[in-house]
């Protein structure tokens, strides 16, 4: 007994172009979660992530012929569309969405909800630190944020991430290196602030 072969994304896409609704449904269910999570992690907004997911697959329905297999996988193609839509929406919504611009703000965001301790970086497993890390990622510049989301959260290879972002692999590596360094700095700042706050509380307690 041989099990039926699972169609590849490319097979499904060809069927979609031929008007096969089942193929579209299958492709959507296979890829929507990744696209949605990418948009959510890039924006921090569920409504925006929902809109972007819808727009990505609308583009797929209408302009699937623009996909070139030589330029990357179907998943990378979808992520690329999602990236463009997310960045466009973030640019449009900039006046209306509160984004941490200054270091103080980002540090405050990063430290909000942190638990003071000797080494908060080791306490990232706690949910509060997860929130802090999420906020820190959202506070990163977009070109750093996207490589962290793609490579670290979606475990995408440097090559695929480079295709999504549309830059060289070396650029992805260097951006990721810098982005992680920024995240560590924020975590350290949160730790120092937490320690200071702890000292103040202790002094007040003695007083």
């Amino acid at each position: 007994m041989t099990q039926p072969a699972i169609p590849s994304d490319l097979d499904l896409l060809r069927l979609v172009m031929a008007g096969d609704e089942d193929a579209f449904t299958q492709l959507y269910r296979r890829r929507q979660a990744g696209v949605y999570r990418f948009a959510l992690q890039m924006s921090g907004s569920e409504s925006l992530a929902e809109d972007v997911t819808q727009e990505v697959f609308i583009v797929l329905i209408r302009e699937a012929v623009r996909y070139d297999p030589n330029r990357g996988s179907v998943a990378a193609y979808l992520y690329g569309i999602a990236r463009n839509h997310v960045l466009r929406r973030l640019e449009q919504d900039r006046p209306f969405v509160r984004l941490a611009e200054s270091d103080d703000e980002t540090d405050a965001n990063a430290s909000s909800g942190t638990i003071a301790g000797d080494n908060p970086l080791e306490e990232l497993t706690r949910n509060e630190m997860i929130d802090a890390l999420r906020n820190s990622i959202l506070a990163l510049p977009a070109h750093y944020r996207e490589v962290v989301v793609l490579c670290d959260l979606h475990e995408m290879s440097y090559i695929d991430a480079a295709k999504v972002v549309g830059c060289a692999v070396g650029t992805v590596r260097s951006r990721l290196h810098r982005a992680r360094a920024l995240l560590i700095e924020k975590m350290r700042a949160g730790r120092d602030r937490g320690q200071a706050a702890d000292e103040v509380k202790r002094l007040r307690c003695f007083a």
Binding site: G19, E21, Y28, A33, F57, I130, H154, I184
Partner: protein, 253 residues
């Protein structure tokens, strides 16, 4: 290993990615002996752990079901609107083939144009070959293009193709027969190069164009001119290469 080298691979070490065992051990060994790198590696591990937890926390996140409903409706609408175009579009799904097709079409057009251009002179009747070099001062054989009759042609035959003009211009005159009657016999000088010899030798083909010039042009090439007829014009044949540049000239009387 030094601190900079560890910095470059800190993420890979922290993520326990597949890497050279020796490199990994060197990094860990360096971290054991360097407090800064030990802290750096610890931070990277903590960050990696946190990112994995974050990714795991979002693992279940997905688009609401209404998105799928909306998209399926859009898909059906699109299919009903443009069913035929979609199937046609599938044929050109790979844009590479579109580019190849356009390239082939362009190549065909170019080849056809070249063939048309090349065939134009061939449609003209071959000029008579009985022109003979009768001028005493030029005993050496002349190149083929210069032996062709150039004067007295009908207006539509004023431009004639020539092949490589590989002879150097010499002084002297030749009698050129136009093939009609002895009354129309013309006397022509040899060709005077208008460019350097290398450019003349590089010319694969070209055309001879009959023009009229002021007689003063004779003096430009060191030829004697009757000053009493200075206001008259003189016929000349100009060799024009396919690049449009004039290569040589001869005067016809």
């Amino acid at each position: 290993m030094n601190c900079q080298e560890l910095e470059n691979i800190a993420r890979d070490v922290a993520q326990d990615e597949l890497m050279d065992v020796a490199l990994r051990e060197a990094a860990l060994s360096h971290a054991d002996s360097c407090a800064y790198c030990a802290m750096r590696l610890r931070d990277e591990r903590a960050l990696t752990h946190g990112l994995r937890r974050l990714a795991l926390a979002a693992k279940s996140a997905e688009a609401p079901a209404r998105v799928e409903t909306l998209l399926l409706a859009a898909f059906r609408e699109q299919r009903s609107d443009v069913a035929a175009p979609v199937s046609v579009s599938a044929l050109v799904a790979n844009r590479r083939w579109l580019y190849v097709g356009v390239g082939i079409a362009a190549a065909i057009v170019i080849v056809v144009l070249i063939a048309l251009i090349a065939s134009r002179p061939n449609r003209e009747p071959a000029p008579p070959q009985e022109a003979k070099d009768q001028a005493p001062p030029s005993p050496a054989p002349e190149p083929q293009p210069e032996r062709r009759p150039l004067a007295g042609l009908p207006p539509d035959r004023g431009r004639q193709p020539i092949r490589r003009a590989n002879s150097s211009a010499r002084s002297g005159h030749r009698v050129v027969d136009n093939g009609q009657s002895g009354r129309d016999i013309e006397i022509a000088t040899d060709f005077f190069p208008l460019m350097n010899r290398e450019s003349l030798a590089e010319m694969d083909s070209g055309q001879v164009v009959r023009v009229e010039l002021p007689r003063s042009a004779l003096m430009s090439f060191g030829l004697p001119m009757n000053m009493e007829r200075a206001d008259e014009r003189i016929k000349a044949d100009v060799v024009v290469g396919n690049d449009g540049l004039a290569r040589a000239i001869r005067f016809v009387r």
